[in-house]
Symmetry: C2
Subunit: 229 residues, 2 copies
Amino acid sequence: MSVEGSLKSPAGADPGLDTRARLIEAAGEVFAEVGFKQATVRDICAKAGANIAAVNYHFRDKETLYAETIAHAHRYSVEHYPMDGGLPPTAKVEQRLEAFVRTFLAKILDPNRPSWHGLVMSREMQEPTLSLDTIVETGVRPNFHYLCDLVRELGPHLNPVEVEGSAASVIGQILHYFHCRRIIARLYRGRTDGFPYDLDLLTGHITAFSLAAIRGLEQQSRHRAENTR
Amino acid sequence: MSVEGSLKSPAGADPGLDTRARLIEAAGEVFAEVGFKQATVRDICAKAGANIAAVNYHFRDKETLYAETIAHAHRYSVEHYPMDGGLPPTAKVEQRLEAFVRTFLAKILDPNRPSWHGLVMSREMQEPTLSLDTIVETGVRPNFHYLCDLVRELGPHLNPVEVEGSAASVIGQILHYFHCRRIIARLYRGRTDGFPYDLDLLTGHITAFSLAAIRGLEQQSRHRAENTR
DNA sequence: GAGGGATTCAAACTTTCGTTTGAATCAAAC
DNA sequence: GTTTGATTCAAACGAAAGTTTGAATCCCTC
């Protein structure tokens, strides 16, 4: 009946995957786009080319499907987007910071599918649903610690609040382009340079901004230490 | 019947306000907390101590109630949280940046009610619902322009991408503490210093971080200009 | 090719939620 | 005191969405 494509595979579903895999793939896109609550299993099943009852058969319910999707995204994330960006630990700390920023941004902004793996995690950050503790401990905290180590290496004299605050500042800058993407799209509408969406440009700016900030704070800390000596 | 409180005013509703005002007040809290779609009029009416039909009577429907709530929040915001923080335009630019950061943070983090006025706007940023263009043009863009002016004043040699990128970096740092507040609460659980929630501490860090960053970028820009002369 | 487990399907069930309705209540005017 | 308009109320309606069901279909094994 349909003019193009095979008979059984509906819009956007990879026919090479079995139903269970197609469901997770479709669920990832939908959950990433609208969050857990607003996603409908009818929509997910339609995207996956599966019957509505499939989610009950292959997973128990919507919540379990979500949990499996998050788990899948997390595995994919650590495998394809290592936070050191593939650099050896001996690489210069500036390079490792840039790699961290670039990897994080790519995970979130990459318009190529499957790009939802980072998105669902970001979604989860703003609208935690279930097993938040697990996600924090296995997903967020290691990233945060790694970044704190980088900051400490760049600014050995910073106090703990400055270190953790700077790490939060870096992450905040990155996630901003995800959380406020719709507003940003309006704000920058009509630009000719690809500013808010050019990965290299964005990586360069956030890295340079953060490096300059941390070095400046470090310098102030050293001054303070010398004056109170 | 009830042991405490008056007979007619239910949980958390200010009996001094009429039903319409109580509805907006309750709606503001609920919308700020969970967003438009996930908010239920039943919940809002219960918080306001009003009948379920009240939202249909005083407003036409949930969407109109939301629009009025956003409008109310915006009016309240420009009135009570001026982005210059009440400083005269002659104040030093560093002070004006600090005032901008502090005002923005207060608008979002202030645990005192009514603090939802800034929250609904932030919510709207991540989940635009209606009249997004109006919100961007009247609420977001003026803020963004003001901040860009501050950045330009601090770094006259920065190119447009650096200016707008830096402004986005400042806003991203601030909003991070709203968007990821639930994750942050887990991440910092058990801290003794009030780090992520102390307005002075947070203002100080974000201001210092951003100032150092912009100054560093400005210095690099000057070097670049001198070397290519 | 018959049996049997796995999978898919259309349909219905149940809950939640926005909305509507028509009666009841209140308050001010006459 | 009655009238009239505004407001509040309990109840129900209808659509949307998660879940369940039992039959139909597919596919592998013997």
